[in-house]
Symmetry: C2
Subunit: 284 residues, 2 copies
Amino acid sequence: MLKVPEHQVAGRQAIDGKLGPLIDNSGHFYKPLQDDDERGTRELTFYHSFSSNTRIPHHIRRFFPVFHGTQLLKASDGSGLRPHLVLQDITSDHLNPSILDIKIGSRTWYLEASNDYIQNCFHRDKTTTTVSLGFRICGLQIYNESGFWKPGRKLVRNFTADDVRSVLRKFVSSNVGPEPDCCFADSVYGGCDGILERLLELKTWFEDQTMYHFRSCSVLLLFDKESFLRGKTPFAEVKLIDFAHVVDGNGVIDHNFLGGLCSFIKFVSQVLADSKGSTMEDKF
Amino acid sequence: MLKVPEHQVAGRQAIDGKLGPLIDNSGHFYKPLQDDDERGTRELTFYHSFSSNTRIPHHIRRFFPVFHGTQLLKASDGSGLRPHLVLQDITSDHLNPSILDIKIGSRTWYLEASNDYIQNCFHRDKTTTTVSLGFRICGLQIYNESGFWKPGRKLVRNFTADDVRSVLRKFVSSNVGPEPDCCFADSVYGGCDGILERLLELKTWFEDQTMYHFRSCSVLLLFDKESFLRGKTPFAEVKLIDFAHVVDGNGVIDHNFLGGLCSFIKFVSQVLADSKGSTMEDKF
């Protein structure tokens, strides 16, 4: 029984007869390979290379969805059988996950791409926070008492630096109103199991690895309030997704991803520090 | 007695009746303010802001040339009196300095610049190692028995990743031929007074500081074989120069500079590691 993913916050969706990913009830995510461009092939090549690469440390492999090969499936757009990547559905363990999808890097294009692709990316990068912040939020959903807050694509695309700060506060708050309480900041962003620690682990790897350049790749932050309240581990996760534009590192570190990641880490650190500051103010 | 700097490896030079910097015999470097664009004003604004900024740690201030204000001087192009920045001449303590000028960042343009400027930079960045490596060598001179090896601008502009590796090896060798011996690598790049340690200090600051974005700024590596042989400290230095395109950080880290710096650090580390490897091979 395949169905449309409930918690997809960005990317092409399998709705209105369009081609998009599907999930099943046993924790699999099926991503269709497209035949109109090289993306699908590139992503498949990456998963094959990465899953057999013995130089990937175990603690780094955890950041990536598990790859189960490919499978021929009926495509969501009714076009018949089509090969799909079979991946781990990283939301399947979570009941009501709050999710942030952040595309990392101050540049989404790469020298190997076509001129049209470069020009499109260049324009999009300049008119979003990609150039200024080194990353942009591509999609999100934040769970609260009244359900999910899931702003539309156009709104997300126009996010400013202040909007990004506000979203990072709302992500760890019990409310999504104009004054988020950041009551989960310490547990979700802080501590040795927190998101900040995971991001720093990732940073250390990116300072060293020269195998892959992750162009247009996203960091996904997942946080599940109910798992947290039930004491489940992990209640917060960091995953990397979208490898359709991964290119060979050629012995150079991915300075574009690393720079953007460091900028994002600084944003998260600031929200964490501010939330500690305000807790202190509340106390005294 | 003003004269043309002997050890300038990049930038506009005060030769053939052109406007360029001058030096004196007491360790000052005079950089003319230009009236045809905003660069001079921007650089002066930066030096004023930086020299009075109490949030700059002492160990970071050492990376910047000392600023002594401005002075009206006869310009090198014969156009009469013109204001000049009065800076520390960072080569004055060195007899025969080997110098590398490395423009850091995978992007030299910035959103505040004119469209023409952005397009020019964008083209230059793609056709040099700026985009691929996150930095480019802008100029160099390497001292050896037969004098200075100082390749022309056109040659330097066409440097590939392999050329960069080769230059980093020659910089710390007694010879500049096709098989550099890297005999100074350990002392110049390694150790607690070495260049790598300085670059890592700089990196730590860039992971945190959100005051300035250093667009089109260079890291200058200086190394003086004679100072080294005489046991003089420091015989190797790291300096930042060229602040005509520094813009406000607006609370965001300079992820562009940081990413490029990390990539450059990796290149230097690799040369250091390889030289240790080859020394081991020589020994056994």
